[in-house]
């Protein structure tokens, strides 16, 4: 195999220079000619019937162009369950639900008019825990749930407020538990947290004279949201256009119809003028989406030699007031929740449950971090009771090549063991280098995960080469900060043999760019990487055919490098790509290569058994380890260092891989030690600001070491898998295990705040 020129190199991000000079235009920066400014009125009640809305005063306020309520925007949307009104329809289901909206000449006017809208409520009983909401006899938050339009794979439940019931059934778990030498049952809890991307949410929308709706929004899945919008409005997709300005981080929050739907609803009442709706930070915290809070009950049976025999898991995913992505989080988060281990008898029940809380949705990791918090600490506790080393216990049970998983898939290219060995080695597992300083307890811990990607999905791409030898990539992957534009440029540059400076990404516009499923699920490097690679090869083949005539040599004797076509044997016999095109197609000629990629074998899991023999196009494997010092007097957990070993298949850009992992680690550290969206007993979020919601700062991150493991995936571009999400998935469990290792005490609930750790220490001393 020829050596790779650009792929595998830590080239500088192609978007770096515009970002450090302040030229990048994000959604929040966008200005459109003639635009109006929208603001929404949000519910102050967690669950109530709207008896009356009076918008008269708002309508008469000077400078107001439109005041709308649910009656003016009678649309319902939902990616898998159509349960979400654009604006509340007769009732509200959480504090922060949009009820009405105003478009005005400026934002201050819109806000002032919103304050004049009067709402009369009749309160209903509210639920703030998924366990309470799903108890038999609980009142339905969605009375019409049985009538909602649902995707085929949704499994309903006789339990109240359950919007999806995931089931996995393998072997006979009862028998497995009976045959075990040790059975342990535990219950873990994870609170909701918020994505807190630095750019708050915003959208611009306009309806033109022909009835075409255009939406400018940094959405992570422009084609999917176009479909969702089309279904809600009853329009053909070609009547809807999504244009993506730059996205200032998303982590799963900037998908679906959130702020978008308010801008769209207003745009239908502003006579062709565009409307901008910006959520401020508080609105972003409360009225976009959160990560699912979860309650995980886990019960395992093991042989005394450490062989796992049976595992039974029940997870309550707190969906909040609307389903958003809860059904698929429930499915894809519950499926691998028993962990990356060989277990013959497995039973999993995942319930996504409506509550009267802010809506939970996609969040980097898609359920895996919550499941790992439970499973990986449970693994350490099992090891402790078996008097086994946690590393030895895992090595005995982890997935290796050729294993058949409990969901029925034969695994290949499993880099898990290498991540486990390298992370534990780097943290010095089993070695005690230092004595506990006075008042502190030192401990180490680690945790492993495997994560599937959404499957099957499709990516398409085109690559244009012009008479100047410049390459333009048309791909629907959204630059959300992860570096996809650099990665895809590397792929195109590699296949066409051009310098990376000669490549650029076309801005994302659904009217121009070919279809892509989404920029989610860590799928882009694998899927879009393949599509762009195929497109570039297709362009290269056309260029080779042309060059073969010019250079009078068969195509197989040609080589592409440095923006030129050479004869392999005689590198001086060369012609630039631009010349090839100009000679053959004229000065304005363009060669277009097209590529498409779908993981054809992929198959959704069976709704009754949870089985699929190709549930994921590839799997991501990781082990992370942490060393902590716990202050016995205050309960404060001080992180000394963290190590992350990730199997990426092939690092297309090693620097960007490390950057992804470091960002993930910081997010995982926040989730482990301080992040929690606190909802009070009246459904109000008590900490919707950066003052009260403790995001990780530069003072909170310790020394981080990233180890890139490359166990290539034969179907991935150059062997690459994915990497966006796993960086934060095992982090809290690794830290939890380190805390337990330090104190000899297991703490079951996140986050590990000083207060929680302090009381755990007190309870253990009593």
């Amino acid at each position: 195999m020829e050596e790779l020129a650009v792929v595998g190199k830590s080239v500088t991000r192609i978007d770096a220079e515009e970002k450090v000079t302040g030229q990048t235009v994000y959604g929040y920066d966008l200005v459109l000619p003639g635009m109006l400014y929208g603001k929404a009125l949000f519910s102050t009640r967690p669950h109530a019937i709207i008896k009356r809305i009076n918008t008269e005063k708002a309508k008469n306020y000077p400078g107001v162009h439109a005041v709308i309520t649910g009656a003016d925007a009678p649309w319902i949307h939902g990616e898998t369950i159509k349960d979400t009104p654009f604006l509340a329809q007769g009732k509200v289901r959480y504090v922060g639900e949009p009820i009405a909206a105003v478009a005005a000449v400026d934002e201050d006017t819109a806000q002032a008019a919103v304050a004049l809208i009067e709402v009369e409520y009749e309160d209903l009983p509210a639920y703030f825990s998924p366990e309470e909401a799903s108890k038999p006899g609980a009142r339905a938050i969605h009375e019409d749930y049985p009538k909602y339009h649902k995707a085929d794979f949704i499994v309903t439940s006789p339990l109240p407020n359950v919007c999806e019931h995931f089931k996995l059934r393998t072997g006979d778990v009862e028998q497995g538990l009976r045959k075990s030498d040790l059975v342990l049952e535990q219950r873990y809890r994870v609170p909701a947290i918020q994505h807190a991307a630095m750019e708050p949410h915003s959208a611009h929308a306009m309806v033109d004279d022909s009835g075409k709706l255009t939406v400018w929004v940094p959405n992570d899945a422009p084609f999917r949201v176009r479909t969702e919008t089309a279904e809600a409005l009853g329009l053909p997709p070609e009547k809807i256009r999504y244009i993506n300005p730059y996205q200032g981080g998303g982590f799963g929050s900037k998908g679906g119809l959130k702020v978008e739907r308010i801008a769209i609803a207003l745009a239908y009442h502003t006579k062709g003028r565009p409307v901008r709706v910006k959520f401020n930070r508080q609105e972003t915290f409360v009225s976009t989406s959160t990560r699912h809070g979860a309650i995980v009950r886990i019960k395992s049976g093991v042989k005394s030699d450490g062989t796992l025999v049976a595992r039974e898991i029940t997870i309550y995913w707190d969906a909040g007031a609307y389903s958003e992505k809860s059904a698929t989080v429930c499915i894809r988060g519950s499926l691998p929740s028993p962990g990356p281990y060989r277990i013959p008898h497995v039973k999993v029940d995942g319930y996504a449950v409506y509550t009267n809380k802010p809506v939970a949705g996609a969040f980097r990791g898609y359920g895996i971090p919550q499941a790992a918090w439970a499973c990986e600490q449970h693994m350490d506790d099992l090891a402790k009771r078996l008097h086994m080393d946690p590393l030895e216990f895992r090595l005995k049970n982890i997935f290796v090549d050729g294993d058949i998983t409990y969901w029925g898939e034969e695994l290949h290219n499993v880099g898990l063991k290498e991540t486990l060995l390298r992370a534990t080695e780097a943290i010095g597992w089993g070695k005690t280098e230092k004595l506990d300083p006075k008042g502190f307890k030192i401990g180490k811990g680690f945790a492993c995960i495997s994560k599937p990607t959404r499957t099957p999905t499709t990516s398409n791409a085109s690559v244009l080469v012009d008479g100047q030898g410049k390459v333009t990539i048309l791909a629907g992957t959204v630059e959300i900060g992860q570096g996809c534009s650099t990665m895809l440029s590397q792929v195109a540059a590699e296949e066409l043999g051009v310098p990376i400076e000669n490549t650029r990404m076309h801005p994302l516009d659904t009217d121009v760019i070919p279809f892509d499923s989404s920029t989610t699920s860590s799928r882009s490097t694998f899927h879009m990487g393949n599509a762009v690679r195929h497109a570039a090869i297709h362009a290269r083949e056309q260029l080779a055919q042309m060059a073969s005539g010019i250079l009078q040599a068969p195509e197989e004797h040609l080589r592409f490098s440095d923006g030129k076509v050479f004869l392999k044997k005689d590198p001086h016999h060369a012609i630039t790509l631009g010349e090839v095109i100009r000679t053959q197609l004229g000065p304005d000629g363009v060669v277009r290569g097209n590529g498409s990629y779908t993981y054809e074998l992929g198959k959704d899991v069976d709704p009754q058994t949870g089985h699929s023999d190709h549930a994921s196009a590839f799997y991501m494997y990781a082990t992370q380890a942490a060393e902590v010092a716990v202050d016995e007097e205050t309960g404060r957990v001080r992180l000394l260092r963290v190590v992350a070993a990730h199997d990426v298949g092939k690092a297309i850009n090693p620097l960007n891989c490390v950057a992804q992992v470091e960002g993930g680690l910081a997010m995982g550290i926040g989730a482990a030690l301080h992040e929690e969206l606190v909802v009070d007993n009246q459904g109000r979020v008590r900490n919707p600001s950066f003052l009260d919601y403790h995001l990780v700062t530069s003072l909170d991150v310790p020394e981080m070491k990233t180890i890139i493991v490359e166990c290539p995936a034969p179907d991935g571009p150059y062997g690459a898998k994915g990497l966006g999400e796993p960086g934060l998935a095992p982090t809290p469990a690794a830290i939890g295990n380190a805390v337990a290792n330090a104190l000899g005490i297991r703490i079951y609930d996140l986050p590990l705040t000083p207060e929680r750790v302090y009381w755990a220490i007190q309870a253990a001393t009593d």
Binding site: T12, R13, D15, A16, E17, K19, V20, T21, G22, Q23, T24, V25, Y26, Y28, D29, V31, H195, A196, A197, M198, E199, P200, Y246, Q247, G248, G249, F251, N280, R281, I480, G481, Q482, G483, L655, N656, A659, E662, G663, G664, L665, A666, M667, S689, F690, L691, L695, V696, T697, S698, L699, V701, M704
Partner: protein, 161 residues
Amino acid sequence: MNTRIQIRLNGKILTLTVPPFRLLLDLLRDEIGLTGTKEGCGTGDCGACTVLLNGKPVNSCLVLSGELDGADIVTIEGLKIGPHLHPVQQAFVQEGGAQCGYCTPGMLMMTKSLLDENQNPTEEEIRFALSGNLCRCTGYAKIIQAVQIAAAELRKDEAGK
């Protein structure tokens, strides 16, 4: 009631008539059209809107236009030195200090302010100086590296003078 102010913005004198309660952040973004300065929270908690006011870093979302008469303001758009990136910009590019890039302008202005005061900061001093600038993408590691590299570069420049 509008007020008339004269400011020096990125080296250029501007005379503006603005409501005195207009935030500096909005003045820059909405009235002058410089959107490089970002809004992350509007309450002074995230540092995304950091600019230099008379040489000191401020959250521009907490500064009123009425206070600005005679002020010297530098924003991200004024950081380049002629056609060249400032060493802190260059270092952020090289080290991967920007991912989504939304916190980057504020981060760079804060870094410039730190390095104007102290060309040889310790890692702890860098972490402390940037602790009011939130970033959700990078985990800060590459940012801290970039600041160290920029500091070394500036010391070299200084020595070469």
